[in-house]
């Protein structure tokens, strides 16, 4: 009898958009330790470059306040319109900025990296697939 071969589960990919390198570094390490792939962007423009090029992303975690032509809310609006299946987590030190329906969860800053990793896991689809642009 031929044993049933189970396909290897695909590792979910998180697009982390954070302009403060030390914060981004701590969070990427936590997410990678929890078994996730992380694509790092330091601006909304970089994130959109990656997505527009067809980069595979299962969930986006983005800071709101960032330098550049777009902030995190602008990014969230664009993603909602273009890739509506990708869950979005906003992080901010000012919750009033996040008065928007363009996201799935809001994390106040400073945040606990392990808590973020846990939240990300709860928001990912069970099969880890289907959200890629």
């Amino acid at each position: 009898m031929v044993p049933e071969v189970q396909p290897e589960p695909r590792t979910a990919t998180i697009l982390l958009v954070e302009d403060e390198i030390i914060i981004r570094l701590a969070l990427t390490e936590a997410l990678r330790r929890s078994g996730l792939k992380v694509v790092e962007a330091s601006s909304a423009d970089q994130a959109l470059s990656y997505l527009s090029a067809g980069g595979t992303v299962d969930l986006i975690v983005t800071d709101i306040q960032m330098p550049g032509s777009r902030n995190g809310l602008d990014l969230a609006r664009h993603v909602r319109a273009t890739w509506p299946m990708i869950p979005i987590v906003l992080t901010t030190g000012n919750a009033q900025l996040a008065a928007s329906d363009q996201f799935d969860a809001l994390l106040p800053k400073p945040y606990d990296a392990a808590r973020v990793a846990h939240l990300v896991r709860t928001l990912l689809p069970a099969d880890g697939e289907g959200n890629a642009p």
Partner: protein
């Protein structure tokens, strides 16, 4: 055994991301910096944990060459490899008086891996006499 830790400095997400992922799959821990300013912050916070760095000499704002020079002075234990167009890298490497690797872009991932392995294997040889 601790994985060697690399600092990869490249502003272009579509270039940096696949290279970083490839190097992770090869067993390295990779810290990504999207600018020379970020790289300096990482080195100030964690310079003692970085074994080697790969710097795009065309990095935006401050030239990557200036970062590489500063890193060699401030963190002499860190091996520095330069990347960029052939002409730019040749100029930078010459000014650094370094016989270290100069990697042409677009990156050949396997070549980058070979150079990093070579750098880490030889250890830091210290600055040249003219530095």
């Amino acid at each position: 055994m601790t994985q060697p830790r690399l600092l990869l400095v490249d502003p272009e997400i579509l270039i940096r991301t696949p290279l970083a992922e490839y190097l992770r799959e090869c067993g390295y821990e990779v810290v990504e910096a999207t600018s020379t300013d970020e790289a300096r912050e990482v080195l100030r916070a964690r310079g003692q944990d970085i074994d080697a760095m790969l710097v795009d000499v065309g990095s935006s704002r401050e030239d990557g060459f200036a970062l590489a020079s500063w890193a060699r002075r401030s963190y002499p234990a860190i091996n520095v490899a330069l990347a960029g167009t052939l002409v730019k890298v040749a100029e930078a490497a010459g000014e650094l008086c370094d016989d270290g690797p100069a990697l042409a872009k677009p990156y050949d991932h396997q070549l980058v891996l070979q150079e990093i392995r070579r750098l880490l294997a030889r250890g830091r040889q210290g600055p040249s006499s003219s530095e």
